[in-house]
Symmetry: C2
Subunit: 416 residues, 2 copies
Amino acid sequence: MKTVKAEIIAIGDELLYGQIIDTNSHWISQELDLIGVRVVRRTTVGDNREDILEAFSKAEGRADIVLITGGLGPTQDDLTKPLMAEYFSCPIIEFPEAVEAVTSFFKRRGREITPLNILQGHLPSCCTYVPNEVGTAPGMWFERNNTYWMSMPGVPHEMKKLIKDFVLPKLFELFDLPVIVHQVIKTVGIGESWLSDLIRDWENALPQHIKLAYLPSLGHVKLRLTAFGENKTSLEQEIQEQINLVFPQIKEYIYGYNEETLESAIGKLLKKSNKTLALAESCTGGYVSHLITSVAGSSAYFQGAVVPYHNQFKHSILGVNDETLKEFGAVSEQTVKEMSAGVRKLFNSDFGLASSGIAGPDGGTESKPVGTVWIACAGNGFIETKKLQLTQDRMLNIQLTAVAVLNLFRICFSRK
Amino acid sequence: MKTVKAEIIAIGDELLYGQIIDTNSHWISQELDLIGVRVVRRTTVGDNREDILEAFSKAEGRADIVLITGGLGPTQDDLTKPLMAEYFSCPIIEFPEAVEAVTSFFKRRGREITPLNILQGHLPSCCTYVPNEVGTAPGMWFERNNTYWMSMPGVPHEMKKLIKDFVLPKLFELFDLPVIVHQVIKTVGIGESWLSDLIRDWENALPQHIKLAYLPSLGHVKLRLTAFGENKTSLEQEIQEQINLVFPQIKEYIYGYNEETLESAIGKLLKKSNKTLALAESCTGGYVSHLITSVAGSSAYFQGAVVPYHNQFKHSILGVNDETLKEFGAVSEQTVKEMSAGVRKLFNSDFGLASSGIAGPDGGTESKPVGTVWIACAGNGFIETKKLQLTQDRMLNIQLTAVAVLNLFRICFSRK
């Protein structure tokens, strides 16, 4: 089986000048990787005839499929369409179906169509018109000498829909793509090198056609298993067997698989057991609450949060003893214990989580430098706590504490 | 004055496979744009000899300065260094200073140096060694036929430091760069096209050497003014005069300039007037509190927040009348009014802000569809409210509401 090679070309001065970030090329890379198409190059060129034509001709020699984003607006700066017509030597003509689509797009939004927008329905005669249901610039598909081309608008959600609805199915139709199965194991609370030490024997014993990738991000490490072969069902089974093998070695760090996030995993735990949660956030300042409420349906288990940014409110709202605050300070095990118990009571919830720390850049002392954080998880008859010693960076401290708080809850929940 | 042209080459399979996102190329584009260097192309290639060498040779023909990131790790996958040696036809030799730097880098971290890491101090003999103070892979500077080259590690904070400390000063030294002055006007609460209508006459009357760019993002539009010329002081003065001219036409939408964020602008207003703020967040779920507490020093004016995710806590913690909730519902003008007044009282703050809405995807009704949101700002003797009708997307609704809440406060504050 021949490897299918792809090249991605992003067009636009605004990309080269750093006015907008090109998230499209990265997203397309991910999608193609998932189906076993190899991206061999990504190029960004400006709104410039020679550069665009040169990028086209170089790509034609290297790739089986060329994916082009941007440069499709209705104004004269946007060169992709005329240059594709030039490159493929065919005139731009009216595609009545495309004119109709852009006209009705404007009608649906109650806006007057302009002559410039009508021209968006005029396309190179040698292309296949690909309807863009969520925007005004159509997709264009070209074929020549066994290289396939797709031109798409640069607006991310328009491009994504064209890739999902048209390009990916087309690639499966045109090419003998390998059968690939992916599974991602999501872990938290352990660094990449420690994880790698724990699973080395298993990793070394993986069969040739199953590959492992470590994908670390803030406080998390994703383990991506990719199996290549001929039969989807048997690959799925093989990957599942490998997961079953590695699971006992790292189960305490696994919170989910594939699209699961730590906050959605926690939501499932709570929902399944009909339990509820409340938060007292000092140094995280509402960020944990934001993560939890980002999950649709979180109102089923999330009662609410208090951000007592000053000590007096840790006392007046959460009932932390004034003596505790005086004797141990706001950033202490005693204080987060009382905060977690207090917020649990205030919201009448099954669990209460609390954070208190010095996010920085100011407020550190010799005994409690910037990055010192205490977190707690209170439940029926128990309170667990943990001390963190983090970084000098305020945002990083907030984000790392949030992950630690969610993970502490996951651990507490599984123990009780 | 000749335009200085730059090309950026990012190296690494992990970029092409979508395992990590290339934020470096975008960041470098922005930095070069600010000093008037034109990026003419960005290329991403994999860990592949032919592709890397071809990218080098193409770049040499097009650019005055070539900036290369990635491919500098200590393992055999990392090809940048040997290929640069090959491309410039010079052997890799020991640079004692570089070996010393990487050795002491490991020593400072209390880690044993490995033979592989020592080799990171061996570099092509024809390069200038550029110390990397925050990592192990050095920068390498090359010159040939009036093209300059800088190779840097792909780790963002290492690359950024090398660009700031070495590359940018070097570019000023080598090239006769245009004098460029930028000012960014930050606006909120008005869309790009409306803003453009308001300032059209001013925009059309701008002198040739001052350019305007509209940079829209979620709920915000940045207006970037760029002046090109010979004398920095007079350009700064000219840009300031243009800002003074446009200011009266859009002053109600301007919250700051350059690096200012809406949340830091609000912090300044509060700090300057010695006033304090508290939040009652229902549909925003802690996100506004997170934005405000992301600003260092926010504890000087931020008292705290309550996220009453269920109606009973709007009553029990914030004192919203049960009758209000029964008669008008949680998503109503009456409820957010009482929430904002209640949280102001609870935290004994000068201002109280509140949000309540249907973020979605569930919970919408015919009279209150998903995306219906009420927000309020309470101060001494007044409460202002606003109704928003947003989207079907939960995260977008949370983010847009947060911007609207902060903007409502900005407006309230300026009126009282």
